[in-house]
Structure formats: C-alpha cells, structure tokens
C-alpha cells in the first residue's frame, strides 16, 4: 500500500516535516483547518476557541476514554486563506513546550491538493521525544488491552 503521509525527521535536527496529498480540492482542505465544527470531527477534539486571523488564538480540549481532559492551545501568526497558516502549538501540562508550525496548502489539480506541515521544536531532544510519543502510547495501549483481556478471563 502506498504511504500517503510522509514524515521527514532528519537526524540531529530540531524540526520535522509532515506532507500529505489529498484527493480534495484545495478549498476543502483549507476548510478542514478553518471551520471549528469540521476540525472537531477529524481531530476528535473539542474546539473551545479558533480565531482565524493574525494575532488570533485557538484552544482545543480532548477527553480520553477515562474522562481525563487534555488541553492544547496556540497563537496564530499568519492566516492566508487557501495558502498558509503559521501558528504556535502547545500541549498544556506537558514538558514538551511550545512548537512553531508552518502549514502550507497547495493546489495540485482541480480535485487534488497538498499539505505540508513544517514543525520547529526548541531542541532536538524535544522533537525526538514527541516523535516517540505515539510509540510509547502504543506500548501502553497494548498493555491496557492485555489487561482488559486478562480481567475478562477472571
């Protein structure tokens, strides 16, 4: 199967680039990032605030299956419809600190488009930690699943 989403994280650099081509017109791709109701659907998060303008800010809140709430927020530095969003991103109450995101939206054909997310971290170590987060979470999930199965056997 083709890998549509690419992650490029060069060794020793405090940045990473995520790219993806979509089977969607550019306008719809951009709308997925600017319409709070749609952001909620695909990010699986609650949008508390989303001010799509320069010097605007945004605030998301995600609730995990155990009912624990996680907050995310950032400030928008540039908002150019169908073209570019520059913003900061921060996971609240985590040691990751703030990261800088450059989101570029590009038309490929009338019905296809491309997104490139360039993320800059404060340090190489922080970037590597974040890259490993889903890996670590996967381990926890595997353990939890195992626990669930074991508890059902009792």
């Amino acid at each position: 199967m083709e890998r549509q989403t690419k992650v490029n994280a060069e060794d020793g650099k405090q940045e990473l680039v995520i790219t993806r081509e979509f089977d969607l017109p550019l306008e719809l791709l951009f709308k997925a990032y600017s319409d709070p109701g749609i952001v909620e659907q695909w990010m699986g998060t609650k949008v508390l605030k989303l001010e799509n303008k320069r010097h605007g800010s945004y605030q998301f809140e995600t609730t995990d299956p155990k009912g624990i709430k996680y907050g995310f927020n950032g400030t928008i530095h540039e908002f150019s419809p169908d073209r570019k969003i520059i913003r900061t991103f921060e996971m609240e109450n985590t040691p990751f600190g703030v990261q800088l995101e450059f989101l570029e939206f590009e038309k490929l054909t009338d019905n296809t488009s491309k997104l490139s997310m360039h993320i800059v971290f404060r340090s190489v170590a922080l970037r590597d930690q974040l890259l490993q987060l889903p890996f670590a979470k996967g381990i926890n999930m595997a353990h939890n699943r195992l626990q669930d199965i074991v508890s059902k056997l009792k």
Binding site: R3, V7, A9, W42, L131, Q132, F135, I139, L146
Partner: protein, 105 residues
Amino acid sequence: MNLRRDVFQAIADPTRRAILLLAASQAMTAGAIASNFDTARPTVSKHLHILTECKLLVQEQNGREIYYHLNPKKMKELADFIEPFRKLWDDRFNKLEAIMKKYSR
C-alpha cells in the same frame, strides 16, 4: 535476509519495545531495565538477549557493570520509531479526507 526478519520479530513484542524505549533515554544495566517490569528477571534477560543478538541493543562494559544502549544505526534502519507517529497523522488525514469528501458533493 534472515536477520532482517529477526529484527522485526524482535520489535513485535511489546515488552521488547518498552525495553528499547527505556534504553533510548539512557544506557542501562540489565538490573535497572528489569526493575521497570513485573516480569521475572530471566524473562527480561531473554528479551535483552534477543535485542542484543539482532543488534538493536549494544552491550558496553563499564567497570564491573554491563550497560545496554540503543544502537541508533540499527534503529534507523528499522525506522520503526517514527512509524507510529506517521500512522497517527495518516489516520487523522484519512479521516479529514473522508469527512471533506461529503462536503464536495
């Protein structure tokens, strides 16, 4: 070819993945690694043996202690550290695409 298969077998086990993650943060002795798990010490030793055999972990003698550390070269070959991160975004973007397709009609 056989070795390559071994590497993927090595990381298929959740405990061994957890060991790799521990060793990624710092070089550790077998005892220090085992103290993070409820499993019996010989079980952890077996996992360490497998990980060392396929070169994902490297042993380093420091005085009387043997430290295990991650072999970044091998891990890079594997590129599996990044894969769950990539998968996370791939899933997200697939969802985005599916949702937005409804709007295009």
